[in-house]
């Protein structure tokens, strides 16, 4: 077992455990903390896959910006331990979770089961540096220039929409 396999195993276990803990936590603030732990595990997995820029962005954008916003809203709405929602299991939810387990088994059969002719046989040589800032920048400002610019329009629309929605009266 190589060091890479060991690191992958540890990170995978960490990601799955933190995701499960996030779903079963009663307190939304604890859910947010476990989701941040999950994001850090995923960022380390990105590093393992030679996606350096995305690993940094994962921490800065997801764990930094988005989760701070979520925690801010949780605290603003004061949804702490005092007024937890009454969440009870009923038949519909039980059936739904059973179907989800079926979905997981199906997906695992597809990716781990027989007939794996879609798996690339050899990793192309000399591609370990594709995740650097330099090559990502070249791709974003070359091949993906139009989607990149449209993304800025999307963010502008989101900013305006969020302000209008959250304002008491215009």
């Amino acid at each position: 077992m190589t060091a890479e396999t060991l690191i992958f195993a540890l990170l995978a276990i960490g990601a799955i455990v933190s995701a499960i803990l996030m779903v079963v936590q009663r307190n939304p603030l604890m859910s947010a903390i476990y989701l941040i732990a999950n994001f850090f595990c995923l960022a380390a997995l990105y590093l393992l896959l030679h996606a350096q820029l995305l690993a940094v962005l994962q921490i800065v954008v997801y764990a930094g910006a988005i989760m701070v916003l979520v925690i801010f809203v949780i605290m603003l709405l004061n949804l702490g331990a005092e007024n937890k929602l009454t969440e009870r299991l009923n038949v519909k939810i039980t059936i739904g979770v059973a179907l989800v387990v079926g979905l997981l088994l199906e997906l695992l059969y597809v990716v781990l089961g027989p007939g794996q002719d879609w798996v690339p046989a050899v990793v192309p040589a000399g591609t370990a540096g594709i995740g650097t800032v330099e090559s990502m920048g070249a791709a974003l400002f070359g091949q993906f220039l139009l989607p990149f610019e449209i993304t800025s329009l999307l963010l502008l629309a989101a900013v305006i929409g969020a302000v209008i929605l959250a304002k008491k009266r215009l």
Partner: protein
């Protein structure tokens, strides 16, 4: 890369189904929201894994755009949650059913 591609996809599938289970079973709108973020991230892991194993940067560029969309979704979604909480004093999605026919 000594870890094979199917293991990354299996991890991604597990995270995605945990997210789906959370969306179906939790009733707190903000926790449902976080479960959606988890599902987006599991798909990102799939894209990065394929990008690394195929030696193609397109997957990573796509992850970049997914992150931008997730940030926009977070801003608008949380604004909607705040607006609903201001009107109904709850974030329980069972009680927020005014759009339900």
């Amino acid at each position: 890369m000594s870890v094979p591609l199917p293991l990354y996809l299996a991890l991604s599938a597990a995270l995605f189904t945990i997210g789906v289970a959370g969306v179906l079973s939790r009733r707190n709108a903000i926790v449902v929201f976080m479960c959606i973020e988890l599902m987006l991230n599991s798909v990102n892991l799939t894209l990065v894994a394929f990008s690394a194993f195929l030696g193609d940067i397109t997957g990573q560029a796509l992850v970049f755009f997914v992150m931008a969309v997730a940030a926009a979704e977070a801003a608008v979604g949380l604004a909607i949650v705040i607006a609903i909480f201001r009107n109904k004093q709850t974030v329980n999605i069972d009680e927020i059913n005014i759009l339900k026919w």
